[in-house]
Amino acid sequence: MRELTTDVLVVGGGPAGLSAAAEAAGAGAEVIIAESDLHLGGQLVKQSHKFFGSKDEFAGTRGFEIAKILMNEIAQNGDRVKTMLGTTINGYYGDEGVVTAMVGEEEYLRVIPQKIVVASGAQERLLPFPNNDIPGVYGAGAVQTLMNVYGVVPGKRVLMVGAGNIGLIVSYQLLQAGVEVAAILEAMPRIGGYWVHAAKVRRMGVPILLRHSIKRALGGEIVTGAEVNELDEKFDPIGAAERIECDAICLAVGLAPTNELLWQAGCAMKYVPFLCGHVPLRDKYMRTSNENVWMAGDVSGIEEASAAMIEGRIAGLSAAKALGLKVPDEKFDGYRERLRDLRAGEVGEKIRAGVEAVVVGGWEERT
């Protein structure tokens, strides 16, 4: 089996991973980025909308352009950063200091890193309803990939489930691609996403049905429609189900951290609803309870790409420092300040509470 060694292994080449790699390499570390997809950039590459937030995190720039900026920054470090595409890190063998990687479908190799930054992102949640497994039911991220990366539409008429930011943005992107959006369903009594995104789709005539949920997907083999129900305040269906014609159902009902590798690495984990799942405890350097493992981005709690990029910078810098490389402490302070700004105000309330539940003062108790 082929074997590779590196100072820092970054698991995942999305916004968090690329930022971590840029910082670690900038400080002088040799870095390998292992990316399971066929391209770098993670979910940024399918974000065709302009980002909000702070100018430092590229507010006003479209997601796929941010990915290019990060890749350019990495390229400045010459061959200190190696990228492996189509590569999934699937095993952690701490005693031997080895992780295993699968390249494509058939090739396996061993990677021996000194430090690991896990930036493995998130995966979509599923909603239980009859026929949710048949072709024509898609995750919202999958619809974005099909449409915004490869120029293929999921169908002619889509039913969107979920009126959070992802549901609203993907609905708008479907309209941009010439696809009809039959309706957006939202089980809660209010729209979860930003007002500006909701206003855009409403202006284009898409109904947002609050207190509504999908009862079942219709179609023996492939989606031909859906039955939807109004819900009462206990989320129980009221009245007869209504039939909506559609050839695709898009689920935008949230994400969960892709945390398997962190479990394998023995990181102390905690279930935090505000962060959307089991996430690792961390110190202020994004270091886990395993002294060789850091985290950044959605795997540390579901948040926006702008926060993921700063977390990545902190994690990458801290991993480089742990290697004995010279890292100015002010740099950490600067990044932490940006993170604080980003999470300020009402919008960041849940994230702040979530992070507070998992941040530790230090790892002195580490055995």
Partner: protein
């Protein structure tokens, strides 16, 4: 192929157009793009059948995590077609059940048991 022709924000830079087969039928797709995407653009929706209930499965997560798009590619079963790049002349087949592993190097690909 059913593709987006004009888009207000995005330009699609496709690679070389190549032919491949799906269950014996010749189709076209772009080299280097995921097999699952090429199939979708050709109107294919059912990629495999589950082992017990024979339920149809198709495109779902697009990031190699959900196993919905496992297919037999050039005789190899359980290929995550959403993250496996299309190559010229690939032989793509619907996967029935768990798929059949090839034990001998060079062993001829056989159709899966249904």
């Amino acid at each position: 192929m059913d593709l987006i022709n004009s888009h207000p924000v995005l330009d699609f830079l496709h690679g070389e157009k190549v032919s491949f087969s799906f269950d014996g039928k010749i189709m076209e797709g772009f080299e280097g793009e995921p097999i699952a995407v090429a199939l979708h653009a050709n109107g294919v929706r059912i990629y495999r059948r589950t082992p017990e209930m024979k339920r149809p499965r198709g495109f779902f997560c697009a990031i190699g995590k959900c196993s919905s798009c496992f297919m037999v590619v050039d005789g190899i079963p359980n290929v995550r077609t959403c993250v496996t790049p299309l190559k010229k002349g690939m032989k793509v087949e619907t996967q029935y059940g768990r798929g059949r592993i090839l034990f001998q190097p060079g062993e001829e690909a056989r159709p899966c048991e249904s």
